[in-house]
Symmetry: C2
Subunit: 398 residues, 2 copies
């Protein structure tokens, strides 16, 4: 078919304002270079261009999803003709199946995949130690989070970047944290249900429900997907002791990468297994303590020594893994990395459970009650909520 004006020219909830025009195109063997009027050059491969044809034959007019599949054209597909129109679109006639594609300049420039552009869009966490987080710890009042989308968005972005924040004035009723979590998304269910109580019980199947010291850890580390955001709402805290300690696991990982590169490498490549069992469930997951993505960026920390099972890696890796693991735990115990505070009734701490390790000192039940209620919301839902708020508020995307 021939290129026609399509209502689907830009099929997305994201607007693509035209900020620059293409002024020149140059055709190579496998790709085209587009020069823009601000002198930026973008390289687009022919397969990429054909893949991203926006015509109504390639994209469903009903669902805005791609119907075309790239394996239906030859790997060697090329333009038979390509030009810039008077209204600044790029048009490509293909040498296969008599197809024509037309590209919107706002969409095309915003999808430039040169390494510098992709790199510049990369999100980076704000890493913290005790000193930094003591002055910068994000705080918000429950009522403003509930009333204002803009306050909520600012707060969620801080939470994403620092991995931790405090909400005050949540109330001291069971379930009152829900007024805040409902502003974000549904809760992640686990074998502990959706809302869980952290109180001391006689038949504890987990150390959380005792009064003993809980060393630094991430929750549910025996699950493939450790819960993302963890909410811990303090209802009563009259017992002596029970202070909370938080450590930025990403900071520890980056400190290791810089100062103990071998230990960083070993802890991010040699796996261990975590297991959590009780009479009703038996979870098991094998993973590295530090997880990295294809760019080598740290994406997750998984650490709960008390449910780790015996190490079972090949003999030549055993000592290396122990060395790296000892290094990691020792660093998390350094006071210079630790945020130390005592939650008061009505306060809630929220943190990225896959990044920020948490611990609790032992407490003395004879001196008073201590009762927390918690829940989880996964990263997917959290980040989706930020994107949705960014569509509708006047705060610019970041």
């Amino acid at each position: 078919m021939n290129a026609v004006e399509s209502t689907l020219e830009v099929a997305s909830f994201t607007p693509y304002p035209i900020t620059h025009h293409p002024i020149h195109i140059e055709l190579h063997e496998e790709s085209m270079t587009v020069t823009w009027d601000h002198q930026h050059k973008s390289e687009y491969h022919y397969l990429w261009l054909r893949d991203n044809c926006h015509c109504p034959e390639c994209i469903s007019t009903k669902t805005r999803e791609q119907v075309f599949e790239i394996c239906d054209v030859p790997y060697t597909i090329k333009p038979s003709n390509a030009y810039i129109t008077d209204d600044h679109r790029i048009v490509v006639d293909w040498d296969y199946a008599d197809h024509t594609s037309k590209y919107h300049p706002g969409w095309l420039l915003s999808h430039c995949y040169s390494e510098e552009v992709v790199q510049s869009k990369q999100w980076k966490p704000i890493l913290w130690d005790k000193e930094r987080i003591t002055t910068e710890l994000p705080r918000a009042k429950s009522s403003t989070l509930i009333q204002s989308d803009e306050v909520l968005l600012t707060w969620l972005r801080d939470l994403r970047d620092y991995g931790i924040g405090i909400v005050s004035d949540v109330g001291t009723e069971l379930g009152s944290l829900k007024a805040v979590t409902d502003r974000i998304a549904f809760m992640r269910e686990s074998n502990y249900g959706t809302l869980f109580d952290v109180t001391t019980t006689a038949k504890a199947n987990t150390s959380a429900n005792t009064n003993i010291r809980l060393p630094l850890h991430t929750d549910l580390s025996a699950r493939e997907l450790q819960p993302g955001l963890q909410f811990l709402h303090c209802l009563v805290n009259d017992a002596t002791g029970g202070e909370s300690i938080y450590v930025d696991g990403f900071k520890i990982a980056e400190y290791m990468r810089e100062h103990h590169p071998e230990e960083f490498r070993d802890l991010s490549t040699i796996p261990m297994t975590f297991n959590n069992k009780d009479p009703y469930c038996d979870y098991n997951y094998r993973s590295t303590v530090i997880a990295t993505d294809s760019n080598g960026e740290v994406t997750e920390v998984r650490h709960a020594n008390f449910i780790r099972v015996p190490i079972d890696v090949p003999a030549h890796q055993t000592m290396a893994l122990y060395k790296a693991y000892q290094c990691f735990i020792r660093l998390t115990r350094e006071p210079a990395f630790q945020l130390f505070f005592r939650l008061t009734a009505g306060e809630m701490v929220v943190f990225d459970n896959r990044r920020v390790l948490h611990a609790r000192n032992a407490f003395d039940l004879k001196t008073g009650m201590r009762q927390l209620q918690g829940c989880y919301i996964d990263r997917d839902e959290f980040l989706s909520r930020i994107r949705i708020l960014e569509r509708s508020t006047t705060l610019s995307g970041s």
Copy 2:
């Protein structure tokens, strides 16, 4: 403290019967070799042995979780003395902090981490093509799954190994699939809720709810954790067309590894991004199409061309990724790999959504109704359920 008899000698729900006795120990620089009475030799590193001390000072008597942390002893810790007792325990006196550990022979042998032992315990999927699955497709009746733990366990193991199975006589009421899923675990919630209906709606935000052909895909591929088991229960299927197609993605991956090694490597190392948006949510996840674990074993396939976003990898990887991706999609379209069938009312197909791709032919609404109901249960819960059933049934573990 000195070693004492401990009720925690084996702190686990798993029994460790004593099948062999240690007959000799040999001490090396960093590890000890234990020779068993069937001549098997196990190497245990000193740090590993100290790490796995079962005394009540190292493991909480209350929760059975480890209290000791390995970073509290030197990396160079060694036995000052080690011996086999008359009742076949191995005892180690440590050269640090006057501590003694005592090892149960059943526990110790079952935790031997020699590569051959670890390798022999490794689960392997049963890979299938059209021919194999046509004769071996696991089938079960809803009523027997509900009544018998042993039938249920056999069925769940088949489902784990083949990644697909059929349940018959589920009924044709909305919600009747719950009698089966409740036998496994709670459902995974998503933005579509927990129970979802696959019916044609006018305002479709996903191709699933139209009558068009759905190409082979995994569900919710824009989520970090794609749902594990998918249940699709057929309530009505009177429309012409709408046949289901299933392909074992692990089989395709292994076929690529063997016949197209470069494409396998590229598709398992170069990522792409998946995005799923509607007015209320905006999910985004970047991952490789084929995921492998630290042993190189395939653990997941992620594929939904219609929600993949424009490829944005460095220019030198772009063509390689397209070549690998074309190869993958073409293979999934080969009839020799495809299980093709038509669900009838009352039947339910269950499959590992992170392994088995599914597709649906277009159907003609003028010829009749088509209505499915579905839900997800994640791999963690599914595998936990198998382990729990293995504790209580007479079927041996596998």
